[in-house]
């Protein structure tokens, strides 16, 4: 493949825009993982469900894709809360492997329910935003991706502000640092966990609505985004929001620049390579150090 500055510029722009979405998908996982030390292996499948909801509202209901946020986010919050209450809460104190296996089971259920109901078809929503393009010289900026990038930034910032500045946010952070101490100062840790799981899931609703104008949905679409979310969370550091944003951009750029330099889908080997190296050498993330 011939390397050119146009190509590089294109990869740079696409990488940054996609990186923003990666970051938003990951902050929800980071919140859940950071607060209750549970890796939700069904995270990608939650996103997949949200994408189906957004898809059907747009295609069958004729909604504006960005208005679907007002359905997908509350719906995902509700799904998250229900799943937490019925399956996650009873195993909060179990060994980490049982927790992983349970969420793996959830992901199998959700993935194959989608397969049963929606078949294996790859669905794309063709919206007014899908063909909205800007040109920066020779570089194409896809309007839908730009909106997704800005929306992701806003949503992530809102979540960050909520965790840092509000009383409830402080309670969530306190519960994540020390469960027992939080209980001692009068925080209802059980409700805090429930809320964190709900909010972490709701952020995927937002991400799904932002993605639906430019990304397809299928029963297995969550597989890739789930893996990307683990990579970004570990890279950015557990529970570290600004870290997740930077890590999202790094992985977005790795994928897009890698794809322009390497043949086929080899860029993804690079992504997982980075993941493995970070897990081995700096499991606390590239910005970590405070955490043990």
């Amino acid at each position: 493949m011939v390397f050119s500055f146009e190509l590089f510029g294109q990869a740079l722009v696409t990488g940054i825009l996609i990186g923003g979405i990666f970051a938003l998908i990951s902050v929800g996982l980071s919140l859940i993982w950071g607060v209750m030390r549970i890796i939700n292996f069904a995270h990608g499948e939650f996103l997949m469900i949200a994408m189906y909801i957004a898809y059907f509202l747009v295609v069958k209901g004729g909604w504006d894709p960005y208005l679907t946020i007002f359905v997908t986010a509350p719906a995902l919050f509700l799904i998250g809360v229900l799943i937490f209450q019925s399956t996650i809460r009873p195993i909060l104190k179990d060994p980490s492997m049982n927790q992983i296996m349970l969420t793996v089971g959830l992901s199998l259920i959700l993935q194959n329910l989608a397969l049963v109901f929606f078949k294996a078809d790859v669905l794309t929503a063709n919206t007014a935003y899908t063909r909205l393009n800007f040109f920066l010289g020779p570089v194409v900026v896809r309007g839908s991706q730009l909106i997704a990038f800005v929306g992701s930034g806003l949503a992530a910032f809102l979540l960050y502000w909520f965790l840092q500045k509000t009383e409830t946010g402080r309670a969530i952070r306190a519960a994540s640092i020390n469960r027992d101490a939080a209980t001692l100062v009068g925080i209802n840790v059980r409700n805090t966990y429930l809320l964190a799981f709900g909010i972490g899931s709701a952020s995927l609703g937002v991400a799904a609505s932002l993605m639906i104008p430019f990304y397809y949905t299928s029963p297995t679409v969550g597989l890739f985004f789930g893996l990307i979310a683990y990579v970004v969370v570990v890279l950015g550091g557990l529970g570290n929001f600004p870290g997740a944003l930077v890590a999202g951009l790094i992985i977005g750029l790795t994928e897009s620049i890698g794809a322009s330099l390497l043949p086929g889908s080899l860029a993804r080997v690079l992504t997982f390579g980075i993941f493995i190296i970070v897990l081995l050498l700096r499991p606390q993330g590239i910005f970590g150090g405070k955490q043990k």
């Binding site: 890796i39 980490s96 049982n98 992983i100 349970l102 089971g105 199998l108 889908s265 897990l279």
Partner: protein, 333 residues
């Protein structure tokens, strides 16, 4: 201590006899289910040595299955080398990879979820790597050419031949697994699982035994990979390196009973037939019905019997015993 049932060896002999004569009476479909039961039991036993005995849960064991399947199939289709030899070359390559993965992860002290994540990442990286190697068929994968009935090339007319191959492999695997756990090595593995610091303090070279378990488990899994390729006659990166096989390898060990000799076998024996029958009945209208069943059972097992079927059985037996002995005690007084 786990004391075996008084008549457990008779029971075992009876089951073995039944397993050996099954193809004489059963039709092709039933033998096919038998092959699947034995294959998943075999893979779960292999996974259980690292995941169950040593407590290091690999979520990317398909990496080794893929190495085994691809090595023997590549050598068979391109050079005509019989899979009977190819499977051991695949096993050797997988053993080397198992050493590498184990050394990297355990040397850097990865545990629990972090080890699981690295193994997932390695298997996924392998999917994309092999997807891009045209010499082994890329994303299209490899087809095992049918040469007619040729036992020397691990190809049989009908399903009985494959059934006996995987039956013998499973018996050997269970035998190896039960032999290992009774040896010093087995106790060391369990000590690593139960309390690694204490094991280290008692002089167990925890790094070494974990790496050894990784190598043994990897080799066994790769041999199973070769069988998979020969039986289904088609492999591609997703279906041997992917997340699907990774989960199916460990599923039956977890559901049957982690870290026990018979748990993986019991798990496969109970679940695979039900899943296959549901696939047969519902497969046309509900693709994915059998995986849906696996997911549901996995969630239920984690919620209500986290030690699996064998764990539940032992707990019940323990309760019965203490109930009986307390009854006897009251009679005596």
């Amino acid at each position: 201590m786990k004391t075996p049932l008084k008549n457990s060896s008779t029971l075992l002999a009876l089951l073995l006899l039944m397993a050996f004569v099954l193809p004489l009476f059963a039709g092709e479909y039933l033998i096919h289910i038998g092959v699947l039961v034995l294959f998943y039991a075999y893979m779960a036993v292999a996974w259980n040595i690292l995941g169950g005995y040593a407590g290091q849960h690999s979520l990317g064991h398909a990496l080794f299955m893929g190495i085994g399947a691809y090595t023997s199939t590549y050598l068979f289709t391109r050079l005509g080398l019989t899979p009977w030899i190819g499977m051991w070359l695949g096993g050797a390559l997988a053993g080397l990879t198992g050493w590498f993965v184990g050394y990297l992860c355990f040397r850097y002290g990865l545990k629990g979820p972090y080890f699981a994540l690295v193994t997932i990442a390695m298997a996924e990286a392998a999917v994309y790597l092999v997807n891009n190697i045209t010499a082994v068929g890329g994303a299209q994968g490899l087809e095992v050419a049918w040469t007619g009935s040729a036992p020397l090339l691990m190809q049989f007319d009908g399903k009985s031949g494959y059934y006996y191959v995987i039956l013998v492999m499973s018996i050997l695997a269970v035998w190896l697994s039960s032999w290992l756990i009774k040896r010093r090595f087995g106790y060391q593995l369990v000590s690593v699982r139960e309390n690694e610091d204490a094991a280290e303090a008692l002089g167990v070279d925890t790094l070494r035994v974990k790496i050894q378990a990784s190598i043994i488990s990897a080799i066994m899994t790769a041999l199973g990979g070769t069988f998979f390729a020969q039986y289904f006659t088609y492999i591609n990166p997703r279906n041997v390196f992917g997340e699907g096989p990774s989960i199916q390898i460990l599923l039956f060990a977890i559901i049957g009973g982690l870290g026990t000799v018979w748990g993986p076998v019991v798990g496969a024996l109970v679940l695979v037939p039900v899943a296959e029958l549901s696939r047969g009945w519902l497969g046309g209208s509900f693709a994915g019905a059998h995986i849906l069943l696996y997911g549901t059972v996995l969630v239920l097992v984690m919620l209500f019997m986290p030690n699996g079927i064998v764990g539940l059985y032992e707990k019940l037996r323990g309760k019965m015993k203490s109930y009986r002995s307390s009854n006897q005690g009251s009679e005596a007084s």
